[in-house]
């Protein structure tokens, strides 16, 4: 009988090379976050389901992985969105800290979604939350960080889609449609489906200026001119305020030199319900899903008893990796600096070399398996070792080490004593302590 090896749907393994690429992405993004002064925070993987549900979008709540706490019998859930967790932690534990509070994270997230476009039921996010600022500069800061993150990953041809949910919400209030019709309107808009939108508008028959605005929504999409065109449709206060806010954010982005990387889209109605202000999604050419998304969520912390504005965004690491592969962005996958092969019976040369080089910060793997030199070297190459050091055996004389440069194929016979004394003399990149 075959041993059981199946993975549940939506689970994913990262083999060593994939794990190295994933780590590269995490490190690059955390570096960006650190350069902007963000501190890392770690939240629990599981919590009480009702606690996690607070602040989490209804759609996501339905898709939480749930389990039962053996001690209390209470329902637990795996983290399905870290933003409400961080909001609660700030509201309960960090509220007395000076503002703004800048927090960063890399985490796995669990959702019972249908796996699609590089999206799994356990997926990874790297992101930030910026808490305590209601100024538009806060949005601009996270947008600038998202752009810097995309560049740090070596990505090109990306575009940030910028919208404001209140523009549409204001129009919806004017329509005064029943909930089902509102959902249909939203779904048609999410697809930019002008034909269905037209039919729904005709059915709902709102005031003429509202009908006109709804019809225009899928086309309120592009650069600065969109803001002017939208002006004519923003007759209610909520839409007008949304437009004013977006206009200010866009003005600041122009000052930051980032206006070219963003596209305004007032017809984009995706994103979490908890977004209360400007929000964005980052798209990269040739990949059908956003690789990063975020926005303003001013009402979330109040749900935990602390009224405080906030913005945040996150990269989806699985998607970022998929896009990098699609764009042919290489990640250098390094093996150990040294691979030590020792044919002598007592192995003292190998042990001395390995310890000395590791003490200097180099990475050193040993052969240990007894086999022919060529087989050992083939193994070293497969592991992407930079240098092979050989003691004893067919090629190296007593008191000597044969140093093979596995990148250019050159070799040198070196005195073991001298290598142990000053390794840096012989190997570029190794520094003497």
């Amino acid at each position: 009988m075959k041993p059981p090896t199946q993975l549940p749907k939506g689970a994913r393994i990262y083999l060593p090379d994939e794990a190295a690429r994933k780590r590269h992405v995490e490190t690059r993004l955390l570096d960006v976050f650190a350069r902007w002064g963000y501190r890392e925070i770690v939240t629990p993987t599981f919590e009480y389901a009702d606690v996690l549900a607070t602040g989490t979008d209804a759609g996501v709540q339905e898709n939480m992985f749930k389990l039962v706490d053996r001690e209390t019998g209470r329902l637990l859930a795996l983290r399905a969105d870290i933003t409400p967790q961080i909001a609660r932690i700030v509201a309960t534990r960090l509220r007395d800290e000076g503002k703004p509070i800048r927090l960063a994270y890399v985490t796995n997230v669990f959702r019972y979604d249908e796996p699609q476009v590089s999206h799994y039921r356990e997926f990874y996010q790297a992101g930030v939350e910026l808490i305590g600022l209601d100024q538009p500069e806060a949005e601009v800061e996270i947008i600038a960080m998202a752009v810097e993150g995309l560049r740090a990953l070596g990505l090109e041809r990306f575009q940030l889609d910028l919208g404001h949910p209140d523009f549409f919400r204001g129009l919806l209030e004017e329509v005064k449609a029943p909930a089902a019709a509102q959902r249909e309107l939203r779904a048609a808009l999410a697809r930019k489906d002008a034909a269905t939108l037209e039919r729904l508008v005709a059915e709902l028959a709102p005031a003429a200026h509202v009908a006109e605005a709804l019809r225009a929504l899928p086309t309120l999409f592009g650069h600065e001119v969109v803001l002017e065109r939208a002006q004519a449709h923003a007759r209610n206060e909520r839409s007008a305020r949304a437009l004013a806010n977006l206009t200010e954010v866009y003005r600041l982005l122009t000052i930051y030199g980032l206006a070219d990387t963003v596209l305004l889209d007032l017809g984009e109605v995706r994103g979490f319900d908890y977004y209360s202000g400007t929000y964005f999604e980052a798209y990269v050419a040739g990949f059908g899903a956003s690789v990063a998304a975020g926005g303003r969520y001013d009402h979330m912390l109040a749900r935990f008893g602390y009224d405080c504005p906030a913005v945040g965004f996150a990269f989806d690491l699985g998607r970022a990796l998929a896009v990098m592969e699609a764009q042919g962005v290489g990640v250098a996958l390094a093996g150990p600096d040294f691979f030590v092969i020792d044919f002598t019976p007592d192995k003292t040369a190998a042990l001395q070399l390995a310890r000395r080089l590791r003490d200097l910060g180099a990475s050193v793997a040993r052969d240990i398996v007894t086999r022919g030199l060529e087989e050992s070297l083939a193994y070293a190459r497969a592991r992407r070792a930079r240098w092979a050091l050989v003691a004893g055996g067919p090629r190296a004389r007593a008191g000597e080490v044969l140093a093979l440069d596995l990148t250019d194929g050159s070799e040198r016979a070196l005195a073991l004593r001298e290598v142990l004394e000053r390794p840096a003399r012989f190997f570029r990149g190794v520094r003497d302590a």
Binding site: D161, F287, G288
Partner: protein, 214 residues
């Protein structure tokens, strides 16, 4: 450097209409009878793929194609996360429930509590019946759906009809309409943003192109 845009077209009943509409835009030289599956239209800087209709959404969803033309029936069945900015208006047809004439003569759809249907559209069929509180057993087939009731594979079918000729020829009668369909232009979500100017330009041109009558 700008990369060439890729447009996915469905082979079969929508292809003539799509090519006719595209010709107005100067997209020419696509020979549906040749065995080639990829065509380059240098004049419009386009690459055109000919695909099985049901495959068009996947190519666009994953970005292997920036744009595609596909029937609304397939979009409703697959619900791909793509933009759908233009109803091209041609390829009009309807997804219907049909059954053999003998059954129809004594059947009362309002009394259905359980049905077995053969279909290429399992999701839409299931949704239609469950929305009406009817239990449904789906026999998923890939073609010649009309055959199923004739050989006793399923009592009823859910299938696309254009003129109704195929139904009649097989002694089947339409019982209910599920949805109407026309050809739609779909766009990859990222392409819509990263190739915004070129794609909105194409949409405008297609919108303005003379209507195809079929």
């Amino acid at each position: 450097m700008k990369e060439r845009l890729t447009l996915a077209l469905p082979k079969g009943r929508l292809l003539d209409g799509a090519l006719e509409r595209l010709r107005a835009l100067g997209v020419d030289g696509i020979d549906p009878d040749s065995r080639r599956l990829i065509f380059t239209v240098a004049a419009r800087d386009l690459r055109v793929l000919l695909l099985k209709p049901a495959d068009v959404p996947a190519y666009v969803l994953y970005g292997a194609a920036d744009l595609g033309i596909v029937g609304k029936d397939i979009l409703l069945e697959q619900e791909p996360d793509v933009y759908e900015p233009l109803d091209l208006g041609f390829g009009v047809c309807r997804l219907v429930v049909a059954e053999p004439r003998e059954l129809w003569e004594r059947d009362d759809p309002s009394k259905w509590s359980w049905v077995r249907v053969a279909t290429k559209y399992p999701r839409l069929a299931e949704q239609y019946f469950t929305d009406r509180g009817i239990q449904v057993e789906i026999v998923r087939l890939d073609g010649s759906i009309e055959l199923a009731p004739l050989v006793g594979l399923a009592e009823r079918i859910v299938d696309l009809v254009q003129s109704g000729e195929t139904l009649r020829a097989n002694g089947l009668v339409e019982v209910a309409e599920i949805v109407r369909s026309t050809a739609r232009l779909i766009v990859n979500r990222a392409s819509m943003k990263t190739e915004h100017a070129r794609i909105t330009g194409l949409i405008e041109e297609l919108k303005a192109a003379p209507r195809v009558t079929r």
